[in-house]
Symmetry: C2
Subunit: 282 residues, 2 copies
């Protein structure tokens, strides 16, 4: 599982990897599904004290969550790579999967807005993506390499699934890394994407707004166009049945199913559907 | 208030200053008086997660306490001195006093025991001072300077009170710093010490054991002998009335009162007694 690291950020001198942590916590059964971030049942006592000490605390780091960042920062400072630390954390928390940061190099999403240039977390969390987006760039991406583990995973995969995540800031940074798009284009694996846009709206977060800023139509078909150079199959929500023709015109096979996941059962069903379409038996 | 920093230690990459924090929390009304360390009512959720991540967690850092170490570490890494950070923390938590680390340089107490060489916290907390002490040294003390603020405080003080703290590892490092003993000897301030040993026993911690290791008799008179080159007045517990002569033979005036503090009222009474003996009205 290859995960975006371009929205990593330092808070209080600690290296926070929000996307990796969400994946780890989710697979480890620790995620707070209601809030959509952090550890379920976490407390915020350290953050309260940091506030008393005069720190900005708009990024809500719970006590158990903070421990993960403390551990990651300690290991990185002692010379470990983000890949190593992530594997340690995933193993210790029983995530049960090999979770791979897209790169061990520093890439940072920078968002240009009418109220100024800011990090992704400032845009997403501090401003609750209520400010407009002029443009998005991935600072450092031109020098960043996908890790050897990511390259190996892409080269040996039987199939690749692009999850229904923000195509600009979550999938975009991975695709922007040196060689990744080329590897996907040349891959013999079947590549399947799932649309994060349903009925012209993102289910969560600013994907539609950001696609518009890039001049891409904020629809499932718009997402398909961002991946069509390497994607074989695209799964749209049943609400977007009418867009199948537009997707297939891009040379991508289109399927529809229920992609909105509001329960654990929904997730299992969507994963099962993707595997069935890919012809993979589990 | 000048505080020992030789038992500072890094845990999980964070700079922990146990003596400073105990003083800050006590004066800010946040201390856990029952346990004798940490913040009252603190939780240990981050520590529990660090344990799951495979870390040693014998040093019990609460969530609110951790926030202070996170803040300190962040500020030190950005170039602040320990003196600056301590003042910031004390001010933010309303400790109401100028709390001065003895030095901004690195000094570390190292304890030689029959089971090996260890840091003070390993000896004190991990081993609960149940291993013997062969010797104690303060690594780095020969290069460390007392801060300008400490020197200024000692030069301008009307009176100096040496608190009833461990004379070897809490007061000892301060006295070992360049010039400090000389400044005290030459000071025109009246210097008063309070015995941490009552009836031949330390009220808390390994003071008696450590004094023996240094070849000093573990009594109030033994403590007085460690300070007699600069001390004017020594306050012993009423249980040690019989040692007054021994102390006065060192050229130090001896007083007795109730020095065992088991309540807030006891503390106020002892402080009041010291001020009275020093002729200071408040």
């Amino acid at each position: 599982m290859v995960v975006n690291t371009a929205d990593d950020e330092e808070f209080f001198g600690l290296h926070v990897s929000p996307d990796i942590d969400t994946v780890v916590y989710s697979l480890a059964g620790l995620a707070d599904d209601l809030k959509g971030w952090g550890v379920a049942g976490d407390t915020f006592h350290a953050l309260g004290m940091l506030e008393r000490l005069g720190c900005e605390t708009w990024f809500k780091l719970g006590d158990r969550d903070l421990a993960v960042h403390i551990y990651r920062t300690m290991r990185l400072r002692s010379g470990a790579t983000l890949t190593q630390v992530t594997r340690e954390i995933a193993a210790r928390l029983n995530a049960g999967w090999d979770i791979l940061p897209m790169t061990d190099d520093r890439v940072r999403t920078v968002v240009e807005t009418p109220v100024g240039t800011m990090s992704f977390q400032e845009y997403f969390v501090k401003h609750q993506y209520k400010v407009g987006v002029r443009s998005v760039r991935f600072e450092g991406v031109e020098r960043a390499e996908p890790t050897p583990q990511v390259v190996e995973a892409l080269k040996t995969a039987e199939a690749v699934i692009i999850c229904p995540s923000n195509p600009v800031v979550s999938i975009g940074p991975i695709l922007s890394l040196k060689n990744v798009r080329k590897l996907l284009r040349e891959s013999e694996a079947t590549i399947l994407g799932v649309s994060p846009i349903v009925g012209g709206k993102a289910l969560r977060g600013p994907a539609a707004e950001m696609m518009k800023a890039l001049g891409v139509e904020p629809t499932a078909a718009g997402v398909a166009s961002m991946y069509s150079d390497f994607m074989d199959i695209f799964v749209l929500d049943e609400a977007d049945e009418s867009l199948k023709g537009e997707v297939e015109a891009l040379g991508v096979k289109a399927y529809t199913t229920k992609t909105v996941m509001s329960s654990f059962g929904d997730r299992v069903a969507l994963a099962g559907f993707c595997l069935k379409v890919l012809g993979i038996r589990v």
